[in-house]
Structures are given as structure tokens and as C-alpha cells.
């Protein structure tokens, strides 16, 4: 099990350039951050739900990967409902907490917004293979290849973390030092993991250097990373969803630019 295990699927979305997925997630976030109202967020979510179905991520995998977002959304909602500036009718009151018409509206709008922004981002990123992303960042965005490939190489080491962590746990018990308090034990072990990782990293750097990495020759790319019709289509879908959401909100009179109302 490694974080770099190639991500693959049969749906069209897996073949779309990761850079386009980034751009799409960005369009949706920026568009939906402009206003805090429940209409634009709900409209966007409704469209997104249909698109998720298309992306072909099964319900189990969807829930497994997105549950923290639902919790975050609920938490944000509850906090705002209790503590946001009071306005309109008061439903309940306790110490500093006021649940009012205004705060409940804001809470719903915020919770929906968290979902509408985060869910598509997670779903899009779930279908990104790190190698393809590096290709895209190097060739389409033209980030320096040293940085992109270096980061990709480092990412592979993360997969070995879990393995090293388990081995360290056994080793420390075998050495007699595992009886300490949980916090000290964790700190010591984390430091040992850091040392091991740095050593692995420098070995990997040598191996990469031995294969000509970091030289003065201009690098070529074995896999072409291209922007074509599917990529443009994905970004346009993002623009459309955001645009319709904003338009609906404005037309129904719920638009609330940067929550200034």
C-alpha cells in the first residue's frame, strides 16, 4: 500500500489532465466564496451531485473519503447558529449562545457552502494520479522540473512511513523503552521516523542523481501532458455550475456579496 499506487479507473474523468481538475476546483471555490447565501450553494450542490454520479465513485468510497467534510460542515453550521451576530427572531438563548433567525440562515448557508466547495475538490482529487499531476505541473503549468519531480520522489517515501512506524514500534518495545507515557513515546518515535526518513531521502536523492537527475541537460518528458477538448469541457462545466448558481442566487434576490448584508 503506497500513496503513490497508480490511480486508475474506466470513467472519462480519470483521463482528464489533473491541471484541468485543479482549475475546475478553483473556479468553483472562487465563485462560491463570493457570496454567502443558501441558494447559490444549494444550486451548485444539486448540479455537483449529478456530476458525482458520473464520476463513477461508488457510494462506499464516496462516504469513506468525504465524511470528514460532512462533519466539518455540520460543526461550522452549529457554531455559527449558536454564536453568529444575533438578528431577527430569537429561537433560543444560553449564556453567550443566541440561536436567531439571522444566525440560523447564515449557518445553513455556510454549511452548504463548505459542502459545495469541498466535495467536488475531493472527488476531483480522488481521481488524480500523482505522476500525471507532476507531468501536468511540469509541462502545462511549467513549474521547474527539479521541484516537481523532487516532490514526486519524496511522496513515494510517504508510503514507507507506515511500514517504518510499525517497525519502530516493535523495535522500541524490544529495546525496553516502550513503557514511557504515551506522549513521550510518540515524540521519541516520531523523531526516530524523521531520522529514518531523512536517510531514505538522501539515498533516493543519490539514486536519482545517478540517473542524471539535476543535471544541466534540458529534461524531456516521457508522457505528454496535454490540454484538449476533455480538459476544456471540464473547466467549462465548472464555470457553468458556478455561473448558474450565482445567477439563480442573484435573480431570486438571495445574493449576499461576501456576507456583507
Amino acid at each position: 500500500m503506497s500513496i503513490l499506487t497508480p490511480v486508475a479507473g474506466t470513467q472519462a474523468i480519470y483521463r482528464v489532465n489533473p491541471v484541468a481538475k485543479f482549475a475546475t476546483a478553483m473556479v468553483i471555490s472562487v465563485g462560491l466564496l463570493l457570496s454567502v447565501d443558501w441558494v447559490s450553494a444549494s444550486v451548485a450542490l444539486a448540479f455537483e451531485a449529478v456530476l458525482f454520479f458520473w464520476a463513477g465513485i461508488g457510494p462506499r468510497r464516496f462516504v469513506a473519503r468525504t465524511w470528514p467534510i460532512f462533519i466539518a460542515a455540520a460543526f461550522a453550521g452549529v457554531t455559527i447558529a449558536l454564536y453568529a451576530t444575533a438578528s431577527g427572531q430569537t429561537y433560543a438563548q444560553f449564556l453567550f449562545a443566541h440561536v436567531t433567525e439571522g444566525s440560523v440562515n447564515l449557518a445553513i448557508a455556510t454549511a452548504l457552502r463548505v459542502l459545495a466547495i469541498a466535495l467536488p475538490a475531493v472527488v476531483l482529487f480522488l481521481t488524480i494520479d500523482p505522476t500525471d499531476l507532476a507531468d501536468g505541473l511540469g509541462q502545462v503549468v511549467r513549474l521547474p522540473s527539479r521541484f516537481v519531480i523532487g516532490a514526486l520522489g519524496a511522496l513515494r517515501l510517504i508510503g514507507l512511513f507506515a511500514q517504518d512506524w510499525r517497525a519502530l514500534e516493535h523495535a522500541r518495545r524490544a529495546r525496553g523503552v516502550a513503557d514511557r507515557g504515551r506522549v513521550r513515546r510518540f515524540a521519541g518515535q516520531a523523531f526516530a521516523l524523521l531520522v529514518l526518513s531523512i536517510r531514505r531521502g538522501s539515498k533516493l536523492a543519490t539514486a536519482m542523481e545517478a540517473r542524471g537527475f539535476g543535471g544541466t541537460t534540458k529534461r524531456t518528458w516521457a508522457r505528454a501532458s496535454v490540454i484538449g477538448a476533455p480538459e476544456v469541457a471540464l473547466v467549462l462545466i465548472g464555470v457553468a455550475v458556478t455561473g448558474i448558481a450565482i445567477a439563480t442566487s442573484v435573480l431570486t434576490g438571495h445574493w449576499n456579496f461576501l456576507a456583507t448584508r
Binding site: 518495545r173 525496553g176 543519490t206
Partner: protein, 488 residues
């Protein structure tokens, strides 16, 4: 320069009075080296550990670093040009399979070197396919590299180097971390490659038998002394074989001495496994029965993935049994008989575990402190601690290293230290995982002698191993684990 880089013809190597000193060291790693390797020659580089073999190979590969990494003297040329300036002429395969995989997919990983050399995309993929065929890796190009065995990873690294079409192939103990099957895989792949490319080869290895048939020249280096022997393998090994063997090289016909046991195993059971199921979370193997008696050494052998290491960890009180029990009543004293129920500090005086990778076990900044960890945990005083540390350091030739950082030691020194850290609390049972992996014959001899001595005093040993010679020399019985139908 961009565009197509064609393959390099077999390269000549010239060292003229060459030397290198690492920035942090006082002594030269290599000095006064004069050596010429003709194009297409296949050279096995031998020498005791510390003779500067790896330094030379790293310099040839151009990965030794610049002036801030150390001082260079003399000249080191590949195909007539400075070795540090010609990336891509020499291709290097290192020892550790895990730290040579760069990318996630087999095909991409092989293509990596070509990309760095600026090879055109249209030429990369044919090169990748022919390199994979040459090393005998018949896998889809998008096969995940994380799912390869050690031998496959080393062949992948070899393919990655081949795709760069080097004129000089450099191998730094490429089989030291592999099981016997992996060693054969890699050796055969190198043989095929040399047949196809006629490239110059320089290989370091302390097991001569692996490469003896493949090389046509053996060069023996000595620390700071340059070349001390040079010639056809049979000649050099006849003249220098005994001397090399004494310095730790595994020379055919000069096996290390096996220890002599003075006492026989007793009937006293120190630890018994009864109907034991092992695994991490899910059951890997079940119905294991085993009794370890005082003075006995049990070798656990079997294929990769058969659960040897997991069994070792379970017997050593580091992993809980999934069913059945591990009963160590004779060791427990007042404690419950199951080792997993003991506290960490209670474990160290009863069962000592030595891991395959010594680096996982190191906790301190100096060898001295490393050895003192155990005594401190069990509450020994300063004088007792220092007595035990000194005694073990002398026994395992670590005295001159007491102030060194454990991570800076050589492979053999790390192994000796990791064994010493387990012995310092005097546990009657020792569980070792691949104790002789990658070790030179001198460390091997010392280790087996030490274990035999411990066994004679009534201790017991459980050793997970692939090393048949170790089994012959130390084991009093063997538990062979058959393959289980699970993925590694």
C-alpha cells in the same frame, strides 16, 4: 543540449594517482589509485570493508558531490573525460532495493533516466521496452512499482540504468539485500545485459561466487593503499584468496570457520508455541507448534511472505498471537507466561530481539549510549552499566567506535551493535531476523561464534534466515514454513 542522445560505446576507465577524502573525515577513503579498465572489460572489485570500493564507484558514477563534499586529488577519467563531468556515460545500481525506485509505475521508472538525459519521447519508449526485456521483467508498463519483490526492484533499477545506454555499468553490491532467489535473478539479468551490450562492468560484492564466472578480471583494493592485486579471477583468488577471506571477503574454497558447540541442548523448555496463529490483524498462518529449549537454536526458514518475520515478532513478545498461545513460563518468573503481556522493560531481560534492519533499533547518539540504554532501563548502576558496555564492546570489536554515531557505522558494525544492544541485558532467549544478511565473512564468523558460546551457556536462539550456511553452523533444528497463499 537537447535532442536524441545515442548510446555510449563501451567506456575506458582511467585512474591516475586518484584519491578522495570525505569532508568530515581525517583519513583518505582512497588514495594513490592507479588503474586502467579497458572498454568492455568486466571487473570485480574486492577489498575489506573500508577499502574505498564504494567511494570509487560513486566517483565513477558522478555522485560523490562537489568540492564541499570532500577533497579530490589525481585524475579519474571515463572515456577520456572527467568522471564528475560526464553524466549518463556511467550507470549505477546500488544495494538497497527500496531507495532506488523513483516513480510509481514500472515503465515511468525506467524512462526516468532517459528523461533526465533529454532523450526524445519517441525514442524513450522503445528503449524502456528493450531494457525491461533485457532484465527479464515481463510486466505491464503501468504495473505499480510498490508491488515488486526485492529482486524485481533491483532488476528494475538495472533496466532504468540500461535505458540510459551507458558505456560503463557500475554495480555496488546489488544483491546484498536479496534472498538467494533474488540474487540469481539479478545475476542472470546482468549476464544477459552484458551479452547484449558489451558494456564495461565494475562490480563490488563481497560474495565472490556470485560474480566469479561473469567477470574476467579481479582487482583488490586496500584502504589508502591503492591496488594490491590485479589479474584474472583464478590467479588473483589463488594468490590472495586466503588473505581476502581473512579480511571478510567470501572467497570460494575459503569458507569461514564454523563454531564448535561444547554442550548439547537440554530438555528445559524456555518458550513454547502451542497451536499458534500469527499475523498483523488477519491470520497469516495458523497451527504452529514449537518448543525452544535451553541450548537450542531453531532456524525458521521459508520463502518470502511465508510469515517468518511475523512468527519471529510473535515469539519475541512484540506481536500478539491471534489464536493459540506463546508460553514462556520458564522465563516469566512472577509474570504471566505470555511474553506479549510483559512490560517493555520486563521483556529485555527475558527475550532479546534483533531486527533485520539495525537502523530501526537505534535510539542514541553514540555507540556507548546505545549500549547503555538496556542497563539503564533495568535500573543498573553506573559502574555495572559501564562494565557491561565495555565487555560487549570488546567482544564485538566496537571499542574504537564507542563515541561514533550508530548511523555512521558500516553495515557489519551496525549489525554487531544491534546484537550487542540485545545481549547487554542478558536475555536467555534471542530472536534474530536475518542476522547474517549482507554481512562479510568476518562478521559472520564472529557472530556465529558468539551465538554458539551463548548456546553453550544455556541460552536459546530463534533465527529467521535464508542463509543455509548459518543454518548448518548454528541451528540445532529447523522450522520450514511453506508458502501461504497471500500477497506479500
Amino acid at each position: 543540449m537537447t535532442g536524441i542522445v545515442s548510446g555510449h560505446p563501451p567506456a575506458r576507465v582511467d585512474a591516475r594517482g586518484w584519491g578522495w577524502r570525505h569532508a568530515t573525515r581525517a583519513d583518505w577513503a582512497v588514495r594513490g589509485l592507479d588503474l586502467r579498465v579497458e572498454p568492455g572489460e568486466r571487473v570485480l572489485l574486492l577489498g575489506a570493508s573500508g577499502a574505498g570500493k564504494s567511494t570509487l564507484i560513486a566517483a565513477l558514477a558522478g555522485v560523490l558531490g562537489g568540492q564541499d563534499e570532500g577533497d579530490e586529488e589525481g585524475e579519474l577519467l571515463i572515456a577520456g573525460r572527467k568522471a564528475s563531468a560526464v553524466r549518463g556515460t556511467a550507470g549505477l545500481v546500488l544495494q538497497d532495493p527500496d531507495s532506488q525506485v523513483v516513480l510509481a509505475r514500472v515503465g515511468d521508472d525506467v524512462a526516468f533516466g532517459c528523461e533526465n538525459l533529454g532523450v526524445a519521447r519517441s525514442e524513450i519508449w522503445p528503449r524502456v521496452r528493450s531494457a525491461l526485456a533485457a532484465v527479464g521483467l515481463t510486466l505491464p508498463l503501468d504495473h505499480p512499482t510498490s508491488e515488486l519483490s526485492g529482486g524485481q526492484k533491483q532488476r528494475l533499477a538495472l533496466a532504468g540504468v540500461l535505458a540510459m545506454r551507458p558505456g560503463l555499468l557500475l554495480l555496488d553490491e546489488p544483491t546484498a539485500n536479496l534472498d538467494p532467489e533474488g540474487v540469481t535473478e539479478v545475476r542472470d539479468a546482468v549476464a544477459r545485459v552484458l551479452e547484449a551490450t558489451a558494456s564495461t562492468l565494475v562490480v563490488i560484492e563481497h560474495r565472490v561466487s556470485v560474480w566469479a564466472d561473469l567477470v574476467d578480471r579481479v582487482v583488490v583494493l586496500e584502504a589508502g593503499g591503492g591496488v594490491v592485486a590485479d589479474g584474472p579471477p583464478a590467479d588473483v583468488l589463488r594468490r590472495e584468496g586466503a588473505a581476502l577471506a581473512a579480511r571478510g571477503v567470501w572467497v570460494p574454497g575459503h569458507p569461514p570457520q564454523h563454531p564448535v558447540r561444547r554442550t548439547a541442548p537440554t530438555e528445559e523448555v524456555l518458550l513454547a508455541a502451542e497451536n499458534l496463529s500469527i499475523g498483523r490483524g488477519s491470520v497469516l498462518r495458523s497451527e504452529i507448534d514449537l518448543a525452544v529449549t535451553a541450548g537450542s537454536a531453531i532456524a525458521i526458514t521459508g520463502a518470502n511472505g511465508s510469515g517468518k518475520t511475523t512468527l519471529g515478532l510473535t515469539l519475541g513478545g512484540l506481536l500478539p498471537p491471534l489464536a493459540g498461545e506463546v508460553n514462556a513460563r520458564a522465563l516469566a518468573g512472577d509474570l504471566k507466561p505470555s511474553p506479549i503481556s510483559w512490560k517493555s522493560r520486563e521483556l529485555v531481560t527475558r527475550i532479546g530481539s534483533v531486527f533485520q534492519d539495525p537502523e530501526h533499533q537505534f535510539l542514541a547518539a553514540t555507540v556507548r549510549d546505545e549500549l547503555a540504554v538496556g542497563p539503564r532501563v533495568i535500573g543498573l548502576g553506573a559502574s555495572q552499566t559501564s562494565a557491561r558496555v565495555t565487555e560487549l564492546a570488546e567482544r564485538l570489536r566496537l571499542v574504537h567506535l564507542l563515541d561514533a554515531n550508530p548511523f555512521t557505522l558500516s553495515g557489519g558494525e551496525k549489525r554487531r551493535l544491534s546484537v550487542a544492544t540485545a545481549l547487554v541485558t542478558r536475555p536467555p532467549l534471542l530472536v534474530l531476523d536475518e542476522p547474517t544478511f549482507g554481512q562479510d565473512s568476518r562478521t559472520w564468523r564472529e557472530l556465529t561464534a558468539l551465538l554458539a558460546e551463548l548456546l553453550d551457556t544455556g541460552s536459546a536462539v530463534v533465527a529467521v534466515t535464508h542463509d543455509e550456511e548459518f543454518v548448518d553452523a548454528v541451528a540445532t533444528s529447523r522450522l520450514r514454513l511453506g508458502s501461504v497463499g497471500v500477497a506479500r
